[in-house]
Symmetry: C2
DNA sequence: GTCTATAACACGATAGAC
DNA sequence: GTCTATCGTGTTATAGAC
C-alpha cells in the first residue's frame, strides 16, 4: 500500500488542496503545480481526478467502519463505547486531517463509489444510534431524543478536521478526554 | 428588499443547488434550468455568479451578528445566553436551510467580500468565547477548555442545516430545547 | 424579460517525444 | 517520469434580436 509512493504523494497533495477549496474548485493543474510538475504528468500515476477523490474518501470510510466494528463488539458499557467512538474520530482525524475534509464535504462528487460510500455511512450511523438507544434503555444515558444526541455528537466529531490543525499544542489524548467530558457530562456545573 | 422578486427567486434557487453540490460544481445553466429559463436570462437580474454567493452569505452572516449583539447585551446569565445562541442558530437555519450550507461550505469562494465575512465571523466567535469564559469565572460552567466547549457547540449548531430538513415533524422550539439539554446538561444520567 | 449566438477562456484528459 | 502540444468540451458572461 505504501509502495506506490508517487501516487500517494499526489493523493496527499490533492487532499490538502481539496480541503482549502473543495474538490470541484481544484484543477489538475493546481495539483500538479503544487507538486512542481505539469498536469499531464499526473496521469502517469492516476487515471483520473475522480480516482484521487475515491482513494481519499473510501479508505477513510472503511477505516471508520473497521473501527466501529471493534467498538460495538467489545464488552464495554454503552457510555464507554461512546468514548471510544470519540477517540476513534480524534485519532483518524489527527492522522489525516485533509482527507477528513473531503470525506465530509466532497462525498457527493463520488461517481462509481457513491452508493458504496452511502452504504458504509448509513451502517455507521445505524450502529452509532443503536449504542445510544441501548444506553438509554440501560439508564446510562438521559432520555433525550436519541437522534438529536447522535446528530450533536457526530457534528462535533465530523468537524474535528477544522479544528485539530489549529491546536498543535494539544495531543490527541487531551482532546479526546476533553471532548468526552463535554459531550457526555455536559458543561453545566 | 422583497421588491426584487425575480432576483430573490434566483438566489433561492441557487442556494438550493449550492447546498447539494457546492458553489463551484453548480453552473449558471444549472440554476437557469431549475428555473425553466436560459442561462443568459439570469444576467438581467444579477451581475454575476459571484453576486449570488455574496447575497446568500453576507446577509446570513449579518443576521448572526445582529442576533449575537442582542444576546450579549442582555442581562441574562451566561448559561441563558448560551441557550439563546442555540435558539438563534435553530431559528435562522429553519428559515434558510439552503443558505446555511453556503455559509458553512462556500465562504472561501467569496471574492470582494471575503475579508468582511471573516471579520464578522471572527467577531462572532470572539463574543461567543467571552460568554463561555465569563460563565466559567462565575462558576456557571465547568472548568473545561473554553475553546473546546465553543468548538463543540458551534460544530453542532453549524451542522443544523444538514439535519433540520429531515426533521419536518419537530418544530424549532422542540429542537432548540433538546439541544440546550444535550449541549449544556450533557447526556450522562 | 427571455431568447439565440457567440466570445473568451479553463477544464480534464490523451498522444507522442525525450 | 515528465514534458509540449492539443483535442473536445464546458464555463461565465456579453451582444443584440424579439
Amino acid at each position: 500500500m505504501k509502495l506506490e509512493t508517487r501516487k500517494h504523494e499526489i493523493i496527499k497533495t490533492a487532499a490538502k488542496l481539496f480541503k482549502e477549496k473543495g474538490y470541484s474548485a481544484v484543477t489538475m493543474r493546481d495539483i500538479a503545480t503544487a507538486m512542481g510538475i505539469k498536469a499531464a504528468s499526473l496521469y502517469n500515476h492516476i487515471s483520473s481526478k475522480q480516482e484521487i477523490l475515491k482513494e481519499i474518501i473510501i479508505s477513510l470510510a472503511e477505516e471508520f467502519t473497521t473501527g466501529m466494528e471493534l467498538i460495538v463488539n467489545s464488552n464495554n458499557s454503552n457510555l464507554d463505547k461512546l468514548s471510544q467512538i470519540i477517540t476513534l474520530h480524534v485519532t483518524i482525524t489527527t492522522n489525516n486531517t485533509s482527507g477528513m475534509a473531503s470525506l465530509n464535504n466532497d462525498w457527493m462528487h463520488l461517481e462509481d463509489q457513491l452508493d458504496y460510500y452511502l452504504e458504509l455511512r448509513n451502517k455507521y450511523e445505524e450502529t452509532f444510534l443503536n449504542i445510544i438507544n441501548q444506553g438509554i434503555k440501560s439508564s446510562e444515558i438521559k432520555k433525550v431524543n436519541p437522534e438529536i444526541i447522535m446528530f450533536s455528537m457526530l457534528s462535533t466529531l465530523r468537524s474535528l478536521y477544522l479544528w485539530i490543525p489549529n491546536k498543535e499544542a494539544s495531543n490527541a489524548n487531551v482532546i479526546a478526554n476533553n471532548l468526552s467530558t463535554i459531550l457526555i457530562q455536559g458543561i453545566n456545573k
